[in-house]
Symmetry: C2
Subunit: 181 residues, 2 copies
């Protein structure tokens, strides 16, 4: 199964494509879509949409994994991220990809084994699980690969429901990594 992970953002949208075979995963490609802050909002959103479409057409993923958006003090940034997410997901829908949405805690738990892992631990495990010779850069690409890995683990553990997207347990309630490996 080929999975596209997306870490959306108006300035930087990370993406990563992984391929699963049984219990192993490998990275097919990853990168980051950067938009010019001086460009109009519409142009930036179309840039994200078009580049995600190009990635899908090139690497033919069947499913897409993306992090849920949570709000902090910086709501302006959250609006921009949500708009970028909308633009990217239109491209995914155009190609018929099925969607899995995950909280940051679910991604950390699936990739590192604990929902309280820090950024560096996630990046280390992404590199390790995908047997990459170097750390994926920029961080947005590593985060996108982490979302894809989370999706791969949960799909292999719990299956995929088209109706409800991923049938996932509440964060913190599911088994620790490795119990099925």
């Amino acid at each position: 199964m080929i999975i596209l992970g997306i870490d959306p953002g108006l300035a930087n949208t990370g993406w990563g494509v992984i391929e699963t075979r049984g219990s192993s995963c490998r990275a097919r490609a990853y990168g980051c879509i950067q938009t010019d802050a001086k460009s109009p909002l519409t142009v930036r959103l179309k840039h994200i949409h078009d580049d995600i479409l190009m990635v899908i057409e090139k690497y033919t993923p069947e499913q897409v994994a993306i992090e849920e958006i949570f709000f902090s003090a910086n709501s302006r940034s959250a609006v921009a991220t949500a708009q970028a997410r909308g633009a990217a997901l239109v491209a995914c829908a155009t190609c018929g990809l099925e969607l899995g949405e995950y909280t940051p805690m679910q991604i950390k738990q699936a990739v590192v084994g604990t929902g309280t892992a820090d950024k560096h631990q996630v990046q280390y495990m992404v590199r390790s699980l995908l047997r990459l010779s170097e750390q994926p850069k920029p961080d947005h690409a590593a985060d996108a690969l982490a979302a894809a890995l989370c999706h791969a683990h949960l799909v292999s553990w719990y299956g995929f429901s088209k109706k409800q997207n991923i049938e996932r347990p509440a964060a913190g309630s599911y088994r620790e990594r490795g119990t099925r490996e």
Copy 2:
């Protein structure tokens, strides 16, 4: 000039197309794109994108006006709205439309003459300014027409800058409606 106004929302995206000739405006069409809450998020976003694209191709607007998103207690709803906004704006970018973004206060001020107007006053003025025989329904369509009217007024008063989108004064600082009519 033909202007498309959009009131984005994941469940209901209002739209309205107006045409300006000198100081007069008339409505060409308006409506509301409704998406099924039971459908996957990707399908709902593509529905919004595709229907906005269809409206643009049918009514050939050159510019688009949309309300800025502000955050209240309901941040989940704001995320959904921002994603719908992103999907709609990708369609606008595909057709090369220029964008004007306005705060709710700016729209009220431009349409009613005061930034503290209530919803009914805005709806009454939308109907009156566009000489409609009945109140535009649903409210999302009326709000979209109000955004388009706001854009029309500000463009006729202050001109349009491609670089910075609409060159608009801060809310509350510009002239009352009617001074140029």
